[in-house]
Amino acid sequence: MKRLAKWRLISIFAILSLILSGCGEPFLSTLRPAGEVADIQYDLMKLSTWIMVGVIAVVMVIFFIVLFKFRRKDEKIPKQVEGSHKLEIIWTVVPILLLLILAVPTVAATFKLADVSPMDKEDSDALVINVRSNLYWWEFEYPDQGIVTGQDLVVPTDEKVYFNLISSDVKHSFWVPAAGGKLDTNTENVNKFWLEFDSAKAKEAGDLFYGKCAELCGPSHALMDFKVKTVSRADFDSWVADMKDVKEPAKADTALAQQGQEIFNKSCISCHAVTPGNTTPPEARFAPNLTNFGERSRIAGVLDHNEDELKNWLRTPEKYKPGNLMTDKYPQLSEEQLDALTAYLMGLKVEE
C-alpha cells in the first residue's frame, strides 16, 4: 500500500513535470508568469484560449460530420439550399457575444498595464529605471539613486518597478517574458510601463530572469540578451549603497590586475565607465558601464561569466556578436595583456 502511494506520487510528479516542461523554463517562459503583469497577461491568454477552444470544438464537430457523412456515394444531385437566416443570425450573434466577453477584460487590462501615474507624482517613492537600448547591449540607469549599470538589471521583488524606455541607435524592444510583455524602445520618444517581480516565483527561476531584445535590430539581434537579477528590497538598498560607494574607479589589488587597469585606462575607458555615477550624458555612454562587471552573470549578455570566455570575447568580439561596435575600437591585445585585463575586469566588484 505504501509502495503504491509512492508510485502514485512519482507518477503525479512525472505528469506535473511533463506539464511544466510544456510551459517552458521558469526564467524565460510567458507560461510561467512571475509577476503581476505576466499574471494579467497569462489570465487573458487562458481566457482567450478557452473561448477559442470552444469555437474550434464546434467547428470540428460539424467538420467531422461533414467529412464522414456526406461523402459522394452516388451520382444523385443534392438539394440546392440557398441558406438559412436563422443559422446565419446564430453564427453572427454568438461570436459577437464571445468577443464581448473577451473585449471587456482586454480593454481593462490594456489600461491597467499602461498606468504609470506614480512615476509622475512628486516625491513618490516608486522605483524608476531608465532603459537605454544600444546596438546589442542594454543600459540601466537608476535616476533617483544616481547610478548606471548595464546588461544585468537589478530589481527589488514584490513592488512595481517603472521603466522609461528609449533607444540610442535603432529600434529595439525590451522584453522580460516571465515578468511581462514587451515594449519597444523607440528612437524618438520615451515609452513607459511597469513590471512587478514576485519573490516566490523569482526563487523558482533562480532569481535570474532572461531578458530579450524583441525587435530585429541587426546581425546580433538574436544575441542582445540581458538578465534581470531579483533581490529583496533590503538587498536592493544595500546594492544601491554599495554601488554609490564607488566614487572613484576602484584600485586593482593584485599586480596583474593593476597592469590590467593600466591597459584599461589606455584602451577601454573612453567608452566603458567603471564608476556608476552618471555624470556623462547618455549620448556619450558608448558602451556598457563596467563598475560591477565581476558580479555580472554573463559576458556580453550571452557568454558564460568566466575568464576563458572573457578572453575569447576580448580577442574577437566579432565572432561572438557579429556587427557589435566594440570590434576594432582597441588595439590588438597580447596574451599577457589579456591575462592582465581579465584579472582587472573580473575584480570589478562592489558587493562584499
Binding site: 474550434i56 440546392q80 441558406g83 459577437i96 490594456t110 529600434k171 524592444s173 514587451k182 530585429l216 539581434h221
Partner: protein
C-alpha cells in the same frame, strides 16, 4: 485567327508571350513567374530552418540570415503569393463574368512586366553586395542604418512591382464593373469574382500608402532628406504606420482571393450551391472594409498608448465575426452535399481547420494586453504562417490543381496531387504548430540562432523536420507538372464534371476570344443551371458577330524594362559611379519613349470576322 492552333517554334512562342495582351497568357506568365519566386522563397525558408535546426548553428552568418529572412518574407508576399493570386484572377475572372478579356489588355500586360522586372531587380540584390536585411517590414531606423545597397534594392524593386500590382488592381475593378455578360448582375457573380473585386479595391487603397512610404525612404537614402532621421526631427513611427496601413490590407489582399477559390471548390465538389451566398458577399466586403481599420494591431508594443491599443484591439476582434460567418457557410455548403475528395477538395477541407487555427490565434493576438507577450515572437510567426500557408498557399495549390486543365488543357495527376497534399499538410502542421509554443516559451522571432539551455532545442528541430515534408511536396508537384505536360492528355470543357460557373462552359483552354457569343446568365452558378436543365452549354445572349480584339504589343515589356534599367542607374548613383546618370537617363528614355509611341501610334486592334468563327463551329469544338 487560325494561328492559335498552329504548332510554333520556341522563338515564336517566346515572342508570343513577351508581347501578349491575352489575359489567359498573362495568367500563365504570372503563374510561371510567381511559381519561380515561390521556389526561391521556399529555398530561403529551407535555409532558415536548417540554420535554426540546432542551437548555435553556423550554417549561415548572422548578417546573411537577416538577408535571407528579409528576402523570404518579401519574396513570398510580393513576388510569390500576389502574382500567383493574380494568375488565377487573370485566368478565371474574365471567364467567370463572361468577358472576352479584361478592360485594358495592354495595361494588364504592363502590370505583369512591371511586377516581373521589379521582382528580378529585387532578387538581383544577391549579386550586388547583399540583399536587404531590415526585415520585410523594413522598419525605418534599421533600414536607414543598413549598410550596402540591400534596402535600396528593396525600395526600388517594390516601387516598380507595386506599380504593376496597382494598375493590375485597377484593371480588374474596371473589368468587373463594366464587362459582365448580359444577366450577370453583381449578386450573380461567382464568389471568386467577388473576392477579386474586393481585393482589387483593397489594392487601390492600400498600395498608395506603401508607395508614399517607399518614396520617403528613397529620398532619405538617396538624397539625404530626413523623414525618418530622428536626430533631425524625423519620425520612424510614421514608417510603421505607412507600412501597416498598407501591410494589413495586404494580408486580406492575399486571403480574400484564397477564400474565393475555396468558395468555388466547395460548392463544386459538394454539388451544392454555396450556402448563404449573399452573406458570403457581405462578409467579403466587410472584411475588406474592416481590413483598413486595424493596422495598428501590428504596433501594440510601439507605445501608442492604451486608448489607441484598446480601440484597435476591439476593431481587430470584430473581423472575427465575418470570418466566422464564412467558415460556417463553407461547412454548411458541404453539409448535405455529395462531397467528392478530389485534390482541390483535399486542400479545401484541410483549409478549414488550418485556417480556423490561424484565425483563433489572430483573435488571441488582438487581445492587446496579451499581445505584449506574443508580439515579435515565434507565436506571431506561427500565426501568420497558419493564415498565409494554411489559407493562401493551400488555396494557391488547390487552384493550381483545379484550374490547371482550364489554363493548359490537361489535368494534373490526381494521385500525385494527393501525395503532394498529404506531404504538404503534414509538413505544414509539423513546422508551424510547435512554433506557437516556442513563442510562448520566450523565443523572439527573426533570431539567427538561439543559445542552448532555454528549452528551444527539440521544438526547433521538429519544426525544421516539418520543412523537409513541405519541400518534398513541392518537388512532387513539380514532377507532376512536368509529367502532365509531357503526357499532355487533352480534356474537354468541364473536366471535373462538377463545374458550376461560366469558365467550365468553355473549351480547355478557351479560344483566345473566350466566348464566341457572349452567354446569357440566368442566375448564380450559370453553367450549372443550364446543365441541370439538360443543356450542353450556355444560351448565347447575342447573335454571332465580329469580335473586336486587341493587338499584341512589345511596349509593356519595354516600358517596364526601361524602369528596371533606370533603377540600376538611380541605385548606383549613390556610389557616385560615373556611368549611373547615363544609365538612369537611358532607362527613363526607354520607358517614356515607349509610352510616347503608345500615345501617338494608333492601335485599333483587329476584328475576327463572323465567317472565321463559323468555320470554327463547322470544325467542331477544338480540344
Amino acid at each position: 485567327m487560325s494561328t492559335y492552333a498552329q504548332k510554333k517554334g520556341f522563338g515564336a512562342t517566346l515572342w508570343d508571350f513577351l508581347t501578349t495582351v491575352d489575359h489567359k497568357k498573362i495568367a500563365i506568365l504570372y503563374l510561371i513567374a510567381g511559381g519561380f519566386f515561390f521556389v526561391i522563397g521556399g529555398l530561403e525558408a529551407v535555409f532558415i530552418r536548417i540554420q535554426l535546426a540546432v542551437p548555435n548553428n553556423d550554417f549561415v552568418s548572422a548578417g546573411l540570415f537577416n538577408e535571407i529572412i528579409t528576402m523570404h518574407g518579401t519574396t513570398m508576399i510580393f513576388l510569390a503569393a500576389m502574382p500567383l493570386v493574380f494568375a488565377f484572377m487573370n485566368a478565371v475572372m474574365p471567364l467567370q463574368i463572361g468577358a472576352r478579356d479584361v478592360a485594358f489588355p495592354f495595361v494588364n500586360a504592363l502590370g505583369f512586366w512591371l511586377f516581373f522586372f521589379g521582382g528580378v531587380f529585387l532578387n538581383l540584390s544577391w549579386f550586388f553586395d547583399g540583399a536587404p536585411d531590415a526585415g520585410w517590414t523594413s522598419y525605418a531606423s534599421l533600414a536607414m542604418a543598413s549598410k550596402g545597397h540591400g534596402v535600396d534594392f528593396y525600395v526600388l524593386g517594390l516601387q516598380i512591382s507595386g506599380l504593376g500590382t496597382l494598375i493590375g488592381g485597377i484593371n480588374f475593378l474596371v473589368t468587373i464593373i463594366n464587362m459582365r455578360a448580359p444577366g450577370m448582375t453583381y449578386m450573380r457573380m461567382p464568389l471568386f469574382t467577388w473576392t477579386t473585386f474586393v481585393t482589387s479595391a483593397l489594392i487601390l487603397f492600400a498600395f498608395p500608402p506603401l508607395t508614399v512610404g517607399l518614396v520617403l525612404m528613397l529620398f532619405d537614402r538617396m538624397f539625404g532628406s530626413n523623414f525618418f532621421v530622428t536626430t533631425m526631427g524625423g519620425n520612424t513611427v510614421i514608417w510603421e504606420h505607412l507600412f501597416w496601413i498598407f501591410g494589413h490590407p495586404e494580408v486580406y489582399i492575399l486571403i480574400l482571393p484564397a477564400f474565393g477559390i475555396f468558395s468555388e471548390i466547395m460548392p463544386m465538389f459538394s454539388r451544392k450551391r454555396l450556402f448563404g451566398y449573399s452573406s458570403m458577399v457581405f462578409a467579403t466586403v466587410l472584411i475588406g472594409f474592416l481590413g483598413f481599420m486595424v493596422w495598428a494591431h501590428h504596433m501594440f508594443t510601439t507605445g501608442l498608448g492604451p486608448v489607441a491599443n484598446a480601440i484597435f484591439a476591439v476593431a481587430t476582434m470584430a473581423i472575427a465575426v465575418p470570418t466566422g460567418i464564412k467558415i460556417f457557410n463553407w461547412l454548411l455548403t458541404m453539409w448535405g452535399g455529395s462531397v467528392k475528395f478530389t485534390t482541390p477538395m483535399h486542400y479545401a477541407i484541410a483549409f478549414i481547420p488550418s485556417f480556423v487555427a490561424g484565425g483563433v490565434t489572430g483573435v488571441m493576438l488582438a487581445v492587446a494586453a496579451a499581445d505584449y507577450q506574443y508580439h515579435d515572437t515565434y507565436f506571431v510567426v506561427a500565426h501568420f504562417h497558419y493564415v498565409i500557408v494554411g489559407g493562401v498557399v493551400f488555396a494557391l495549390l488547390a487552384g493550381t490543381h483545379l484550374y490547371w486543365p482550364k489554363m493548359f488543357g490537361t489535368m494534373l495527376n490526381e494521385t500525385l496531387g494527393k501525395i503532394t497534399f498529404w506531404l504538404f499538410f503534414i509538413g505544414f502542421h509539423m513546422t508551424f504548430f510547435i512554433q506557437h509554443f516556442l513563442g510562448l516559451w520566450g523565443m523572439p522571432r527573426r533570431v539567427f540562432t538561439y543559445l542552448p539551455g532555454q528549452g528551444f532545442e527539440t521544438s526547433n528541430l521538429i519544426s525544421s523536420l516539418g520543412a523537409v515534408f513541405m519541400s518534398l511536396a513541392v518537388l512532387v508537384l513539380l514532377y507532376n507538372i512536368i509529367m502532365t505536360s509531357v503526357k499532355n492528355v487533352r480534356v474537354g470543357n468541364d473536366p471535373w464534371g462538377d463545374g458550376r460557373t461560366l469558365e467550365w462552359s468553355l473549351p480547355s483552354p478557351p479560344p483566345f476570344y473566350n466566348f464566341k457569343q457572349l452567354p446569357l446568365v440566368r442566375g448564380l452558378d450559370a453553367y450549372w443551371l443550364e446543365k441541370m436543365e439538360g443543356k450542353k452549354g450556355m444560351t448565347p445572349a447575342e447573335p454571332l458577330g465580329d469580335i473586336h480584339m486587341p493587338n499584341s504589343s512589345f511596349l509593356p515589356f519595354m516600358m517596364s524594362f526601361g524602369l528596371f534599367v533606370a533603377a540600376f542607374g538611380a541605385l548606383f548613383n549613390m556610389d557616385d559611379k560615373a556611368w549611373s546618370i547615363p544609365v538612369l537617363i537611358l532607362g527613363l528614355l526607354i520607358t517614356f519613349g515607349s509610352m510616347f509611341i503608345r500615345s501617338v501610334k494608333d492601335d485599333h486592334g483587329f476584328h475576327i470576322h463572323k465567317e472565321e468563327l463559323m468555320d470554327d463551329e463547322d470544325k467542331g469544338v477544338k480540344a
